[in-house]
């Protein structure tokens, strides 16, 4: 699949009831520039009271574009292998930071990835989970690697040495940037059994990554493979993707209620600060009708 970029010129306001013909299947007119603007450093300082901007990863955009195109062709998206028969796909962004990498002794032998999965509904059946990590092109850093691979990328739970998944990386691929995908469904299942306590607010899932030379136990410096996290834009951060299927028909109003209440919580915090302003685009989040 090509990565999706859903951008279309801001559509003119349409008259109610006029028959609207769409050239391609895309009804979407996502103003991605707004999303990037709010996540762009220069864009953030005057929106400091807005919560950290959310920028969808290319993977989520391509998921959306593929399945909505399939719907328009009358195909059932859950028949796609990549959807694992899920009707909900949630991406959690890594909360680990470059600081944690730096705190570890250099060279960087292991990395911890932290995901807050508290919003994942336990009413839905988990049908798959994968860790997606972006490997930047190491450039000349790789030249100093002891040998040119192959390498073995391994992922473990942070508090155990039980290998969850591994995949080999051959020398040619290791010189180019790309996404590495590791299956962590096993751990997620165990996690959900033990953490099935809704009151647990901080549902953090922790994964540990290391790379060895082939099948040996010689650990490789992750920086030399473009895996360090310093200065990464939002869309290059690692994501944990959970595939779930809900039996009952998804009700739009669940999300609406959830979002309204979370905005209210936030507005409560921001209320006193911004209430007076009210200038368009600066006041509290628009009240939803």
């Amino acid at each position: 699949f090509q990565s999706a970029a859903i951008i279309s010129p801001s559509a003119p306001r349409r008259h109610r009831g006029a028959r609207i013909s769409h050239q391609d299947g895309q009804r979407s007119s996502v103003f991605l520039k707004d999303i990037f603007a709010s996540s762009h450093p220069s864009g953030v300082h005057h929106k400091e009271d807005l919560k950290e901007a959310v920028v969808p990863h290319d993977y989520m955009l391509s998921i959306y574009r593929t399945y909505s195109a399939a719907e328009k062709l009358g195909l059932n998206a859950s028949l796609f292998l990549s959807s694992k028969s899920a009707n909900t796909i949630t991406s959690f962004v890594d909360r680990g930071t470059a600081l944690q990498d730096d705190l570890l002794h250099s060279p960087l032998r292991r990395q911890k990835y932290l995901f807050d999965v508290s919003t994942l509904s336990d009413k839905e059946e988990l049908v798959g989970a994968e860790l997606r990590i972006f490997r930047r092109s190491p450039g000349d850093l790789q030249a100093s690697l002891p040998t040119a691979g192959p390498y073995d990328i391994q992922v473990y739970p942070c508090h155990s040495d039980r290998l969850l998944d591994s995949r080999s990386l051959d020398p040619l691929d290791s010189a180019k940037a790309g996404w590495e995908v590791l299956d962590v469904w096993e751990m997620f299942k165990v996690y959900r059994q033990h953490h099935h306590q809704p009151h647990l607010k901080e549902n953090q899932l922790c994964l540990q990554l290391r790379v060895t030379l082939g099948k040996s136990d010689t650990e490789v410096d992750l920086r030399r493979l473009g895996l360090d996290r310093k200065g990464r834009p939002q869309r290059e951060k690692a994501i944990l993707v959970a595939y779930t299927r809900s039996k009952k028909r998804e009700n739009l109003f669940n999300e609406m209620k959830e979002n309204i209440s979370s905005r209210k919580e936030e507005a409560g915090v921001l209320g006193e600060k911004v209430a007076k302003r009210g200038v368009k685009g600066e006041g509290p989040r628009r009240r939803r009708r």
Binding site: I6, R27, S28, V30, Y67, S68, T88, E255, E258
Partner: protein, 120 residues
């Protein structure tokens, strides 16, 4: 024989169209949902409108009850209203949105687009 509604129509009154699917463009931005819905920001939902009067067309796939109710209404409009023009086939759409934890979520929502209308 059932009264044929057509003769009973007063002159000059605009004849109401038969039950059929009409356009309904939904703009999530106008609903104020664009701060949590990433895509699509608008879509064509359609809606059903029109009268279910005698004789019912077969493509409206009436239930037996709707046939009976329409007959009864044709014979005596005070005995019962006509059957209703409603969606008889719906399809899903995909939505990419931001959940309350600031995560990007893809979800398929059933019953978002009217594909067919009928009398029930």
């Amino acid at each position: 024989t059932a009264l044929n509604n057509r003769h009973g129509k007063r002159h000059g009154k605009k004849s109401k169209s038969r039950c059929s699917r009409k356009a309904l463009h939904v703009n999530f931005k106008e609903l104020g949902w664009d701060d949590w819905i990433i895509a699509p920001l608008d879509y064509e939902a359609h809606h059903c409108e029109g009268v279910c009067d005698f004789p019912l067309r077969s493509h409206l796939e009436p239930t037996n009850h709707a046939i009976i109710q329409t007959l009864m209404n044709s014979m005596d409009p005070n005995s019962t209203p006509p059957s209703c023009c409603v969606p008889t086939k719906l399809s899903p759409i995909s939505i990419l949105y931001i959940d309350s934890g600031n995560n990007v979520v893809y979800k398929q929502y059933e019953d978002m687009v009217v594909e067919q209308c009928g009398c029930r």
